[in-house]
Homo-oligomer: 388 residues x 4
């Protein structure tokens, strides 16, 4: 007897999702038992967050079936709350119309909670990727709330899986798969910096900087519950960059509240100081970002890639502030406060140390295969029950 | 130095909320350090769910400051998902405009999760009442997800508090207070059945039934993830009522998906069988309900009041199906499946047993005072951190 | 060269739409150049407004492609405003996803304006059916506002077309087609009352009344800007019905604000007076309604069918109040105020007069064919320009 | 007997609204019979559209009572449709909560239609400012649709009033008041260019250009129904500016779909050509804009200020394309197509001509006084009736 393949809904709402779901989409497409479709929403539709939808259209193994705009402009807490609400409106329409057999929800962004809520209320199983981790900011609350809604869990690490169990989820509904974003990196030619060199010429702001000698990469996101301090924090990092004066690629963060403040600070620095060592990108696809990170002398900021991808690649990281607080990390990370002098000292220490050995604790490049395999046959239990 | 009183937002969206927040509102009003305001939304605005807003206006210690309609009609999963989404839209507007110092979120209804989400994203502290319990249905997921968002917890029992701790919440953010709905009951004259006798004459459907001898009370809610079985389940209970033939007050449940099916089954029974022993109410305020329950020979169905209020009052309960599964209960409860014969047998056993001794495990009538006292001075930590 | 057929979006949101779009759907399906798809939304999804979606599924020539719940419960002005807003959200998602070549918007309901607005903003042409008429209530404003948004007009009468021209629309974008609801009636066996007799036995409320001798039909809608008077107006009509004491079929109106008040008044009358001459339906499909109307001694109330279908069928009408004020009418209509004595006198006058000759001023049963023919090839001009 | 002052809701959603409602707010505040409150929404909340809310807070005679974010990001037709829908959600909440006696709706922006719709459904009178005009683009449809919803009309000119009458509105509900944006200009020192010179130093993009000799001002908006041509049209104008090489202030337009394309074209021109004669502002308050316009050798583009404010000030205008098509205009306007050579020729003709005499056809600076006077006592008729 023929059985229709299971329809799997993948939702891409940020630049980060792009890299995290690319290998998953490919693995799902390869399976005869699965049929993925891609929904692009929110910031991933927008030019100013990197035009992710165009990248998906160009590079993904499955077509974009739905576009869901829900991002209410303003970068304020109110705009974020409205965006989340509108996301719930839009996702529920899509889920009802498309009737997937399972929807993949990723990590901890503010729109992921209404997405999981909509699926739950519509009796559509939720499989949660990258649950069970610990970070700072409001993501911490969102991620664990999604865990309590999700029907299956694909954590990246054993430690995250342990935490999901501790949260009262059944072991039978958890499989450690590694980080899906490392799947993509594992397949790339990481020595090829030409694309990112060329990208400097045709995009971004500020002068083209050399990537032939040692260089820095900076990614700094606003921390949502510390909204007002975002600019001050950006200035501390900018001050450190100025002190170091190595060629620096600064990649402006995601669309969280507060990132406008950071963007403004960097722009002002560019216009007032005219530094010849600083180039600003508003986004880089993983294919360009991974070689850039691999060959960087140091990653500076508070991006999760400083914890995860850097460990996989052996890149030294200076992690600033509490955004990644509580998150499991490797030997390649130095933690510092939002303090110019401290940042400078840590960067110098990492420059002196040089690259670290690669560590596969966060994934071995096969996460997507494991997810696809499991989704082929797992029986979801819609009625959840806490284990204690 | 004068300090402005803390503004506390109370949100009433169901009949059940009415009874659960009445004593809380009174206690908040009595405190010079607190200033409550009441928001009425969703089903609590509607005649057909009991006209709760009129009851609030007539009987509450604080005025209704906001009315928020968000209930999308249809009693389907899609309508529920849309209602939750619209609730998120509306609550975020209200919370931003009113800027309370804390918002009280109650238990586990589908609109409580978007409410907690909106507050979280707006950096407004959430205090969760009646978290940590275990039930069946989708409420189970919702309640624990809210726990992971909430900044303070007022569980009803020690067992619930234990579960909240196990979910990784800090002990310093938890206070066991008892069930607030028992506060109201503790102050009522529970022997006065006249108001409910009179209510039969002027409202509801079906004949007036006598409450002078033994009588039954039935409350049966649809279980949201078993949408299609609601009517069949109602018919099992109706069959049992028909076998017993005692005077019976049936109270139609809340606005969950599926309750239309139950309502239809009862209406059809009334119109086709013309039973002289069955009266149907679509709602009863706690002031009428509590004496009715106190003096009932048995409460039948799957209402949480069969677990909680019945234990406090010593009323025998026949609890049907899995809606209250996993919930802590006292000696007064007999659990049965949705099976006519089993329901009949259990009712007969309870009729033979008669009243149970009162048990204060779920509250002693002072929950509201404890909540008010704590809210006067508690320092909320917006940045949550899981404890493991 | 093959040209893809034009995709035409039909939207059914009320019982009335069902009858008005049935012939249109059939005519569109017959055309090789057109491909209709049906969207069902709002009240048409709901059991308590007659389960229109089931009727569409059973009887329409095209499948239901989308279900759009947007009806915010409450029957208040605020709920209506919220419903309209949510309709705009939902229609824009649907229109963007489905990308029709034209969307048909009907008449003057509150959700038709956001529908036309969404299409306009999405650059999808709007063809408006039944514009240009004059009525009372807020429909008056809505209808003409839609005319100013629409790209093509299919008015029912020459008089309506004249008014659309006067509103500054170009003559080339207007075609008089007649009323589409008469298309369906023109094809029915109008002498067969058995289905509606049977329907009394299995549905509705109150006793079965005889349709063998003279009988009345009542349809009374709440007038939205006179919200508070709805119940009083219903009581005037109920009083008249009581004075006449002929067998009467009362059909409860649509989901406008205030209809709950009317429904309540009729229910109360049924329960307190136990009239043996009054049967209440919450809805009747056109296939049952048309024979009922054809053979009625008199139609009483404020339904547009008293103006339009009654003239086509020659049925005497007593039109109450200002809901149809300003609307073109034939000799079969007597207008009275919401006054019991006046209603009684007018009904008696119509009973004495008997049936009127049929009049095809509002349509000849070929409206749908004309609409389909025109949609096959019309070139829409998205950029409108007022003619004066 | 004391009568409470009438509460008037003013809604500011764009930079243009700021100037148009400033004098109105002042006039309303001066009246003892009126009490205005200000609602700021959509683009007016956003930094990148000029931070209008800060200007309102600093310069308006009444406080900002509500902030309503509803702008869904994307600058696509779908985002516009969603924004309009969300505007309807938000405005209805605000209007219900604030219960104004009248709401002022301005002109023809896409969010004005849902605003008027929400008020209409909530039975709150709508007074429409600047109705009855003729322009190109979708604004044309929106404006007249609002006219058909509005309960009172304050057109700027006799010609507009004539058109409102022709649309079937009652003369008793129309008063010609002139353009309110001219009220503000009439009170300014129009010779003081220092603030705008300083603004070049601290904001905008590109070099500071001299305003001491002849200079151009460019404002070019995307035309929403010609979405894809926006960039090409911007390039025609940029080419003309390059040919003329006079100092030029380019002010980027409003948040209509397509303006991103224009902004992109200007930015690209700045970065690739490094013109020393072009300065780009994203917004200028009316206090700076009016002197700039008054002293400009020529205004170029498709802004309505080229028609209206320019005539009042006697500034030569080159009006490009069809955005202002059909709009009444004075002798100071030369109309050209989006063609580089034609634009150059028209600018040269205007430079040769020099300033025109001031013309008060569009207003005499007393519009706000007339509006306030009328609102003090006008009796609104909620039930509209077309006059033909």
């Amino acid at each position: 007897m023929m059985v229709a393949p299971r329809r799997v809904c993948l939702t891409i709402t940020t630049r980060g999702n792009y890299g995290k779901l690319k290998s998953v989409t490919e693995a799902l497409v390869r399976s005869p038992y699965l049929e993925p479709f891609v929904v692009v929403g929110g910031g991933a539709l927008l030019e100013r967050y990197g035009g992710v939808i165009e990248l998906v259209r160009a590079n993904y193994a499955a077509p974009v079936s739905w576009e869901l705009p829900y991002l209410v402009e303003g970068e304020t807490p109110l705009a974020m709350a409205k965006s989340a609400a509108l996301a719930a409106v839009e996702f529920s329409t899509m889920l009802h119309q498309a009737q997937p057999d399972v929807v993949l929800v990723l990590a901890d962004r503010y729109e992921c909670l209404p997405m999981a809520m909509a699926a739950t209320y519509l009796n559509i199983p939720v499989a949660h990727i990258e649950g069970g981790e610990v970070t700072g900011s409001v993501d911490e609350s969102i991620r664990h709330a999604i865990t309590k809604l999700a029907h299956f869990h694909f954590p990246a690490t054993e430690d995250a899986a342990r935490r999901i169990v501790a949260l009262g989820e059944e072991k039978a509904c958890i499989e450690v798969v590694g980080s899906t974003s490392l799947d993509v990196i594992a397949k790339l030619d990481l020595e090829d910096l030409r694309p990112v060199v060329e990208a400097q010429g045709s995009g971004g702001m500020g002068p083209v900087v050399s990537l032939e000698g040692p260089y820095l990469v900076v990614i700094q996101h606003a921390v949502t519950t510390e909204f007002d301090e975002a600019r001050r924090q950006a200035e501390a990092t900018l001050g450190a960059i100025r002190d170091i004066q190595l060629p620096t690629i600064w990649i402006v963060g995601n669309m969280d509240a507060g990132n406008n403040a950071i963007f403004g600070a960097v722009q002002h620095f560019l216009h007032s100081e005219h530094p010849n060592y600083l180039h600003l990108f508003s986004a880089l696809p993983i294919e360009r970002y991974a070689p850039l990170l691999k060959n960087a002398a140091c990653l500076v900021g508070n991006s999760s890639s400083g914890i995860r991808e850097s460990l996989f690649l052996g890149t030294p990281t200076v992690n600033i502030g509490n955004r990644q607080a509580g998150r499991e990390r490797g030997a390649n990370v130095l933690d510092v406060a939002h303090d110019r002098a401290a940042i400078v000292a840590a960067i110098r220490q990492q420059l002196a140390h040089g690259p670290y050995p690669a560590d596969f604790r966060f994934g071995d490049g096969k996460a997507a295969e494991r997810i696809a395999k499991r989704l082929e046959s797992v029986a979801f239990r819609l009625q959840k029950r806490i284990t204690f």
